[in-house]
């Protein structure tokens, strides 16, 4: 049986390392913080590997079905009988898979950062934030309770905020971190309301009970379906609102605007948070509640599918036009998450129909590996070139051979060329789409082709194209000579690249159909060779076009983009989404709500109070005239008073 103590250690170790680094290490051992953080992550990773082995091969499977095991559970905050926030650990195939991925990618990023952030004076702060993030992410995936997931959801949000704003003296970084936090916060509002709706009708916050009550017929299910609001049942509303939360974190259209800006953070952070782990939390959330979506509320699942496929295409188009290499990768991430989302959206529950679910999780797994690799590779390039712009790069294959090869492997993997990792997961997603929704399928293979095109555009622009001329020669001659000797980062930067590259090649062979399925039962998929021909050919076509356009410096891309003039500009400007949001927030919300509120407060509410004071003052002005300070005036009042009294006494008829 699993020992819950050491499972609990998996998230707790990064938490401890966060506290130690933040409180003690930052001041007293700044040099050791990186090593300490990395070591703690190593332990965490080893533990989660052990747990994964045990779960998948020893204790998880009972009678051929993978069970949901609650390794521990502690009431954290009780609201009402049965309704409480628990802190616990839930083991099931997806959470076990996620802890392995999270700890592994995090470990790679920790190692990589040892080299990448070497010269930064705030490296200890950086490592404490990384530990905080890892802790929160692990807590998120292990959640047993929908509110627990919300708590860690917010915590990963804030770690992401802290890390994006790591270079806090750069206004653009501060703006980006703010934007990321606020946009996801807005989405979290949806999540929170979704939780409120679901928990009100099911009278629980616990995932297992919640799912059980919402998937089996009974009073709970009938009450939530019969309650309706604006034409949809409460269940649909609840699930869609929860999905909005997921969409915010996973950068789905139209809540994606924070992700490209989030690239202001250090590149390893982008690799960890904004490519491999945190941004897939939305997918994970939908997968966690998948039985409810799939069995009780197909309408909500359709929303997931269409949002997913639209985001995927939308982001792929934008990615083709961006020139900042990290932004290309960011849009590519958004597009790939779109794949995972619509794969869930087209999936059914159980058996053959559950192919999409399996494929989605599989893609999440492979994508984490190769996208982390791409980001780390891009980080190495940026570290060397000191620029994010494609125009400053070119011909780097001679300067950085290892980075070049690993980057190429990752590009092949994401483009879906057999036998690299991405091929397998993407084929299964496409197959699932083909089986259930042809429209989505056609859009998806176009997107897949676009993916191949923009990834190789990126690859060729960095490593081929024109010859590399270090941009910073002019500024600082001394630095130029030293960095030329040291083209690639040190061993700490190369090691993760190599490991991840190897995994990008072989990860596709992991038997996901046997390990992670919608209902825990093994899923037998047949591999249709004939089915794969079209997507692979399209991918190769995309690569070929990219080769023609970008391998050598020429004016073809220019001509091509000119021929698509309006559309190209729109895509380059990210379809004006940022401008639209700015318009809504700055112009509409600030001017039409904020300003009136402040105005009303100042002039009406406060004005009323000041008005009362003013009226009192006017009244006192009126009566104070009597108080003239002249003795004889007072004497007149006195005497007229006396005379008055006398008159009264004499003439009053008592």
């Amino acid at each position: 049986m699993l020992d819950s103590t050491y499972i609990a250690l998996i998230p707790v170790i990064p938490a401890i390392s966060f506290l130690l680094i933040a409180l003690v290490g930052r001041r007293y051992f700044p040099k050791l913080c990186g090593i300490a953080g990395t070591l703690s992550l190593l332990v965490s990773f080893l533990l989660s590997s052990v747990v994964a082995c045990q779960y998948f091969f020893e204790v998880g499977k009972v009678e051929g079905v993978y069970q949901k095991i609650i390794a521990m559970k502690q009431v954290w905050l009780q609201f009402a009988p049965g309704v409480s926030i628990d802190m616990g650990i839930l083991l099931d195939p997806i959470s076990v898979m996620m802890i392995v991925i999270v700890t592994f990618i995090s470990l790679m990023v920790h190692i990589y950062s040892l080299g990448y952030m070497k010269e930064d004076t705030r490296i200890s702060t950086y490592y404490s934030f990384l530990s905080l993030f890892t802790f929160s992410m692990l807590g998120l995936v292990l959640s047993t309770n929908i509110f627990q997931i919300y708590i860690f959801w917010e915590l990963v949000g804030v770690s992401s905020f802290l890390l994006i704003g790591f270079y806090y003296d750069k206004p653009s970084a501060v703006a980006a971190s703010k934007k990321a936090f606020i946009v996801t916060r807005f989405a979290d509002l949806g999540f929170l309301i979704g939780i409120l709706i679901l928990s009100y009708y099911t009278e629980t916050l616990d995932f297992r009970t919640l799912i059980a009550r919402l998937t089996t017929d009974g009073s709970y299910l009938s009450s939530i379906i019969s309650a309706s609001f604006i034409g949809c049942s409460a269940l649909t509303w609840g699930l869609i609102l929860v999905f909005i939360g997921g969409a915010g974190k996973s950068a789905m259209f139209p809540l994606h605007i924070w992700l490209p800006d989030a690239m202001e953070g250090p590149t390893p952070v982008s690799a960890l948070i904004h490519a491999a782990t945190m941004v897939v939390a939305g997918v994970y959330l939908v997968a966690r509640l998948f039985p409810v979506f799939s069995i009780s509320c197909p309408e909500a699942l359709n929303v997931v599918a269409y949002i997913g496929i639209f985001s995927s295409l939308f982001a792929a188009v934008i990615a083709c036009t961006q020139t900042d290499i990290k932004r290309v990768l960011a849009y590519s991430t958004m597009s790939q998450i779109g794949f995972m989302m619509f794969a869930l959206g087209v999936s059914g529950y159980g058996g053959e129909k559950g192919l999409g679910y399996m494929a989605s999780m599989f893609h999440l797994f492979t994508h984490a590996i190769f996208k982390a690799l791409l980001f780390l590779g891009a980080g190495a390039v940026i570290h060397y070139v000191h620029s994010n712009e494609m125009n400053d790069m070119g011909g780097l294959r001679k300067n950085m051979p290892v980075t070049h090869i690993t980057f190429l492997l990752a590009c092949l993997a994401i483009a879906g060329i057999p036998p690299f990792a991405g091929f397998f997961s993407k084929e299964e997603i496409l197959l699932a789409a083909w089986n259930s929704n042809k429209f989505i399928f056609y859009v998806a293979i176009i997107t897949a082709a676009l993916t191949a095109f923009y990834m190789f555009r990126l690859y060729f622009s960095i490593f081929w194209n024109k010859e590399f001329k270090p941009a910073h020669v002019n500024d600082n001659g001394v630095k130029e000579t030293s960095s030329h000797k040291n083209h690639e980062g040190g061993i700490s930067m190369l090691f993760p690249l190599i490991i991840l590259a190897i995994l990008s090649v072989i990860a596709g062979f992991v038997p996901f159909n046997r390990l992670v399925t919608s209902d825990g039962v093994e899923l037998n998929t047949e591999f249709h060779l004939s089915f794969s021909i079209a997507p692979v050919l399209l991918a190769i076509a995309g690569i070929t076009i990219a080769t023609i356009f970008y391998r050598k410096q020429n004016n073809l891309p220019q001509k091509f983009s000119n021929s698509l003039n309006g559309f190209y500009t729109a895509a380059y400007k990210k379809f004006y989404m940022d401008e639209l949001y700015l318009f809504i927030t700055k112009k509409i919300i600030f001017n039409c709500v904020g300003k009136p509120a402040a105005w009303i407060d100042k002039y009406i509410v406060d004005g009323a109070i000041n008005g009362i004071a003013g009226i009192t003052a006017i009244f006192s002005d009126l009566i104070k005239i009597v108080q003239s300070g002249k003795l004889q005036d007072y004497a007149i009042y006195f005497i007229s008073g006396v005379i008055g009294l006398v008159v009264l006494v004499i003439y009053w008829k008592f």
Binding site: Q78, F79, I609
Partner: protein, 502 residues
């Protein structure tokens, strides 16, 4: 046997001792020591309270003591505590300690300043332990006057105006409270035509509904003024921003809680039927305060105004929780009181410490403070994160409890109010991050800032104390709910009686 009267005597003695000190150093150390003793004693009360409860003592109030004060009107000095009062007492003790630590460098009229601070705390402690309406009112009044002087003498900006506004509005509030209390008194009967001020006795002897419907608004609005009930909140922004740092902390951290506590303990507890009747108005006003306070905050440019308006918004949660009349919501309201008290004290403390160094509170003029005064920068960011309801801090726990509790009320109107209240968390994030992003992060805007010195030991101690308290509720909320839920249960029973009677 624990003696609650000591809670009043200790700060009073400290305040008197301060008057006999000869120099500033002696004064602050005396005040500091007195407040520490008080903090320790409050913790001891918490401890013995928990022990009594574990030992199975189920009486509603513990450590009661009772002395006749004025027999003709049956006025008694009657004190006792339950979990809610203890939470409030601990909050007060913590805020007092940190407030005194933060005013370490007060140089103008030091003696009077500390004397008034301590006097204010006497009022607060007395208020929280009183079980006699008249005693309660007496201490409420004690807590008002020092505020006027603190702002009027040591304040900044248009301090006379703010002090006058605050004192007059609070006085008007307490006048309403007095009328309400007297009306309650004359409608009680404990046999033989004798009236009583005893809260527990009144609670068990329902007042007739007609009377309640007349008296409840008086009491609720009266206490509501203290806790910035819309539209009687306008003393808060001006008062908070003109007050010296420690007074801001006391105002927002303690004084606003007097109102919330009064709304719960006096208005709602004694008049459940009327509370039920007026519930929708309370919810409406609270929702307006939450949303409108949040949006008004967006437009503020002064750090203290930002926090003052956000206090209006956050205290809206307290009133929302009380107005919803479900057990969870009321627990949430109490948690929000404590959480907001700690958080806003920390916030005002941080702002005061920053202001002391930079001599400006305008967001536009500040920048890059994290680089030059990292400790204060981090404290400000932590207070901000707590304010926007980040898990791990007390704000999150409190707000979520209010939301869940409010959502349990099935009415459509209350649902919409809850949704709007939830929406305010986004707006909160916007204004907090805007202020933090500009003032604390970003490039340094003024070369003088490079010479700034980071926090001294007393400032660090004050911040750490408050942060620890915030974290202890945020990370382990169960001890806190355990402390207050039994008492909320009793209040709930009264309210349920109100619902069924109606």
């Amino acid at each position: 046997m624990t003696n609650l009267t000591l809670l009043i005597v200790i700060p009073l003695l400290t305040a008197l001792a301060v008057l006999f000190c000869s120099d500033a150093k002696q004064i602050r150390w005396t005040a500091f020591l007195g407040s520490i003793i008080q903090l320790v004693y409050s913790s001891a009360i918490l401890y013995s309270y928990t022990m009594e409860r574990i030992a199975g003592n189920t009486s509603q109030m513990l450590f009661e003591s009772r002395h006749t004060w004025y027999r003709a009107l049956n006025i008694e000095y009657y004190v006792g505590v339950d979990g809610i009062s203890i939470a409030m007492i601990l909050l007060t003790a913590l805020v007092v300690v940190s407030g005194i630590l933060i005013s370490w460098k007060m140089e103008i009229l030091t003696k009077e300043f500390f004397f008034l601070l301590l006097l204010l705390s006497v009022g607060a402690y007395g208020f929280f332990i009183s079980l006699d309406l008249f005693t309660l009112f007496f201490f409420l009044e004690i807590a008002v006057i020092p505020k006027f002087l603190l702002i009027g003498i040591w304040g900044s900006g248009k301090k006379e105006y703010s002090a006058m506004k605050l004192a007059l509005m609070l006085m008007a509030g307490s006048a309403l409270v007095l009328v309400g209390i007297l009306a309650t008194y004359f409608n009680t009967d404990i046999g033989g035509g004798v009236h009583t001020f005893d809260i527990l006795k009144i609670a068990h002897q329902p007042i007739s509904i007609n009377v309640q419907q007349f008296v409840f608004p008086l009491l609720f609005v009266g206490f509501g003024v203290f806790t910035a009930l819309f539209p009687f909140h306008t003393w808060a922004p001006d008062g908070h921003s003109s007050a010296p740092t420690a007074a801001s902390m006391f105002l927002a951290g303690i004084s606003m809680k007097l109102g919330g506590y009064g709304c719960l303990r006096v208005a709602t507890y004694l008049m459940p039927e009327a509370a039920q009747h007026y519930s929708w108005i309370i919810v409406l006003l609270a929702t307006i305060a939450i949303i409108y306070g949040a949006f008004a905050t967006l437009m503020q440019k002064d750090l203290k105004y930002i926090n003052a308006y956000s206090s209006v918004s956050h205290c809206g949660f307290v009133l929302l929780g009380i107005g919803m009349l479900t057990k969870t919501a009321i627990i949430g309201a109490v948690m929000q009181m404590v959480s907001h008290g700690l958080m806003t004290a920390l916030f005002f403390g941080a702002i005061g410490m920053i202001y002391e160094r930079t001599h400006t509170r305008q967001v536009e003029q500040l920048g890059g403070l994290l680089k030059v005064i990292p400790f204060l920068g981090v404290v400000y960011v932590i207070a901000g994160l707590c304010s926007l309801g980040l898990p791990g801090f007390s704000g999150f726990v409190a707000e979520m409890t209010v939301f869940i509790g409010s959502w349990q009320h099935p009415g459509m109107f209350n649902r919409i109010a809850t949704l709007l209240a939830c929406a305010s968390i986004v707006v909160t994030a916007v204004y907090i991050l805007r202020a933090a992003g500009k003032a604390v992060m970003g490039p340094i805007t003024d070369e003088h800032y490079l010479q700034l010195k980071d926090a001294t030991w007393n400032e660090k101690l004050a911040s750490v104390l408050l942060i620890m308290a915030i974290l202890s509720i945020g990370i382990a909320p169960f001890w806190f709910t355990d402390l207050i839920s039994a008492d909320t249960q009793l209040i709930m029973e009264n309210i349920v009686r109100g619902i069924t009677n109606k």
